[in-house]
């Protein structure tokens, strides 16, 4: 019965242009976001730059001409009078003069750093020569010192990728819970305002009706999220060629389980408040108390990206109102003891079941009452009368 109801949601909504287009757009957007920076950023290849030199020593010109890993430099000789015009005409990106770097606008920080280091190196070499050191001494003096990074926890240098994963896990869960939770709510309001709920309730218990809707839309939401995830993985692994540590992949099943439980919890809540209004216009108001804890969770998570071991994060990842967002973030960002993950999931699952019971009851009370929005006070007053079928 639940599956029958869920299937209807999947078939009717999954068939809409809206769902397909949004899913496709999300997929492409994530790919593009992954690809574009590597196209324009040129992370791997040296960037071609035109550097103008005006009245600088030949040794500096040579050093600049040699370029670096990041920069493929073309030297353009400019006279002092041409400094400005060559920049405004775009013939050069920057002009190095004796004692200044001249830019057309704000300096390109990376190029600026390269130029400064080069100028400094040449200048220091000249000064060293003045002190009587020969060229070999100078080279020896400036040999870079290779400092090895050692971590006691034995991890590879994966902070960057974990930071990214945590950020994505947080924003994705938040967005999907909020968006799809609202869809569930709008579906409930639609069924209520179109009065079809009366025929449905003649055949199905309120809780079953609710569970079917949440399951159906939950599957669609998960499918869409997986599409985004796959797109993200493609752009990360194949396009940007990032070496993703195996630990990150291991969290994927956990993320799916968490999302499903979180969706059961939040979507049911959305549905319950949706059943209290009869018009879509009133829905936003009643949804606020549901969206608020989600938003709080997201804010806590964002603030804890660099300090994932803080107390708010730890506690928040166990409380069912915030754990849907914070648990995935915490798992992605840092190492979480298995028992804490298990505890969090058990609490979330229990809360989801409780929420389903409460929501089923609210549903029963509220769905056939059309007109004005139902107040919590009315529900509270009616709570004492148990129902025999809900």
């Amino acid at each position: 019965m639940i599956w029958l109801l869920a299937r209807r949601e999947i078939v009717t909504r999954g068939r809409t242009k809206g769902y397909r287009i949004v899913t496709l757009v999300l997929f492409l957007a994530v790919i593009v976001l992954g690809v574009v920076p590597s196209l324009i950023g040129g992370d791997d290849d040296a960037r071609e730059v035109d550097v103008g030199v005006a009245e600088v020593p030949a040794v500096l010109t040579d050093a600049l001409d040699a370029g670096s890993e990041d920069f493929d430099v073309t030297i353009v000789d400019v006279s002092e009078e041409e400094v400005e015009s060559s920049l405004t005409r775009g013939e050069v990106d920057v002009v190095v003069t004796d004692g200044s770097l001249v830019w057309e606008g704000s300096p390109d920080t990376e190029l600026d750093e390269f130029l400064r280091l080069t100028v400094e190196r040449i200048a220091l070499g000249e000064r060293a020569a003045a002190f009587g050191l020969d060229a070999d001494d100078v080279t020896a003096l400036f040999t870079p010192i290779d400092l090895e990074e050692v971590r006691l926890d034995g991890d590879d240098d994966t902070d960057g990728i974990r930071f990214l994963a945590g950020f994505i896990a947080g924003i994705l869960t938040f967005m999907f819970l909020q968006t799809w939770g609202s869809f569930v709510m709008m579906g409930v309001v639609e069924e209520k305002s179109s009065r079809i709920v009366e025929i449905l309730l003649a055949q199905v218990r309120p809780r079953t009706l609710l569970a079917g809707k949440v399951l159906g839309l939950g599957i669609l939401a998960l499918a869409q999220m997986l599409v985004v995830g796959v797109a993200g993985a493609i752009s990360l692994v194949f396009v940007r060629d990032v070496d993703v540590p195996s630990g990150v992949w291991a969290t994927v099943p956990l993320l799916i389980v968490t999302f499903l439980l979180a969706f059961a919890f939040y979507a049911t809540w959305f549905a319950a408040v949706g059943s209290m209004v009869s018009r879509q216009e009133d829905a936003q108001g009643v949804a606020l108390p549901v969206v608020a804890p989600l938003l709080v969770a997201y804010l806590i998570g964002s603030a804890s990206l660099t300090t994932p071991a803080n107390g708010a994060m730890t506690i928040g990842s166990v409380i069912p109102f915030t754990s849907p967002v914070l648990l995935p973030m915490r798992v992605a960002l840092t190492d979480v003891p298995a028992w804490q993950v298990a505890l969090s999931l058990v609490i979330l699952a229990t809360s989801a079941v409780l929420m389903l019971r409460v929501a089923g009851w609210i549903y029963r009370f509220a769905l056939l009452r059309t007109g004005a929005r139902i107040r919590w006070r009315e529900l509270w007053r009616a709570r004492s009368t148990p129902s025999e079928t809900a």
Binding site: M1, R195, L368, S387
Partner: protein
């Protein structure tokens, strides 16, 4: 009143009571719909018809009383054998007609193939074949009504509960509905439907139950109900003016050269008064119990009078 033997056979409501806050919406309603019969559930707006019907399909939690189907409380299984059409029509606007009817068939417990077959059957029977693949929102109001009916009938229910099935139907559609209801009853279903359009009901129902203010005011055969009225209507169309003739005692509704209509108390004999007429004066004479609509109106008015008496007392 029916015996216990009858109630085992169909739908039975005993002392059904439902309160909304301080309002007693349904107050001890007894009602029986034997298998194969059609019962009209009549009453003015706000009489408690919809709440009573919702209580049958398990949507209104009762404060007192019981609803039984074939002698058993209506459980999930029994509820699947009910075809329910609510007063407020509702369908999924963005679902295809055939899919929608199938869906409700499946909800009522039909297998995939059976649901598909029954959906096609009813869509054809209700003349919707060419719209089967259309979305419901693309249909006219009248066709949506038919889909609503198909949804109620798709699982060939043993009990039909139809809330105001004639509301908004044109005369042709009303005829179709009447035939359909008759057909289901002949096929063995128990049918309960509510209405406030008494002219549509009189020929169709085996029995009627009249409610007002949540209480049953009268129940029985339509002919019996009419016969039970304390008045008779004497209606004479004159061929020539009945000079010097005066109508029998009663409420004179019309008395002129062409026609006389008088509501006479049942115990007053009218034969003597008519006997004094010269032959050929009257073109036609009828002496009958009032129509169901007037019986109904009397019941409702007496209620109103009683209420105002109470208020002034």
């Amino acid at each position: 009143m029916t015996t216990d033997g009858d109630s085992l056979d169909g739908l039975s409501l005993r002392g059904v009571t439902k309160r909304f806050g301080d309002v007693l919406a349904v107050d001890g309603v007894d009602l029986d719909v034997p298998t194969g019969s059609i019962v009209g559930f009549l009453g003015p707006n706000g009489a408690g018809k919809t709440t009573t019907m919702r209580s049958i399909v398990g949507m209104a939690r009762l404060d007192a009383g019981a609803v039984t189907w074939r002698g058993q409380p209506v459980d999930d299984e029994a509820r699947r054998r009910i075809g329910y059409m609510p007063q407020e029509r509702g369908l999924y606007a963005r679902m295809k007609v055939v899919e929608q009817v199938e869906f409700f068939g499946r909800l009522a417990g039909l297998g995939k193939r059976a649901a598909s077959e029954r959906a096609r059957h009813w869509i054809e029977a209700l003349g919707l074949s060419d719209r089967a693949e259309s979305l419901v929102q693309e249909l006219s109001g009248g066709n949506q009504q038919r889909v609503q009916l198909a949804v109620a009938l798709v699982h060939d229910p043993d009990l039909l509960v139809l809330d105001e099935p004639f509301a908004g139907l044109d005369p042709v559609a009303a005829d179709v509905m009447r035939e359909l209801i008759r057909g289901r009853a002949d096929a063995g279903a128990a049918v309960l439907f509510s209405s406030h359009q008494l002219d549509l009901v009189e020929g169709l129902c085996d029995r009627v139950v009249i409610v007002a203010d949540g209480r049953v005011r009268a129940a029985g055969d339509t002919a019996d109900l009419r016969a039970a009225s304390p008045i008779r209507r004497l209606d004479v169309a004159w061929a020539t003016e009945p000079v010097g003739w005066s109508p029998p005692p009663g409420v004179v509704r019309r008395h002129d050269a062409s026609r006389t209509i008088v509501d006479v108390p049942r115990e007053v004999p009218v034969a003597e008064a008519l006997a004094t007429l010269a032959a050929g004066t009257a073109r036609s004479v009828s002496y009958e119990p009032p129509g169901l609509d007037e019986v109904f109106a009397d019941l409702i008015t007496s209620r109103a009078t009683a209420a105002s008496d109470r208020a002034t007392a």
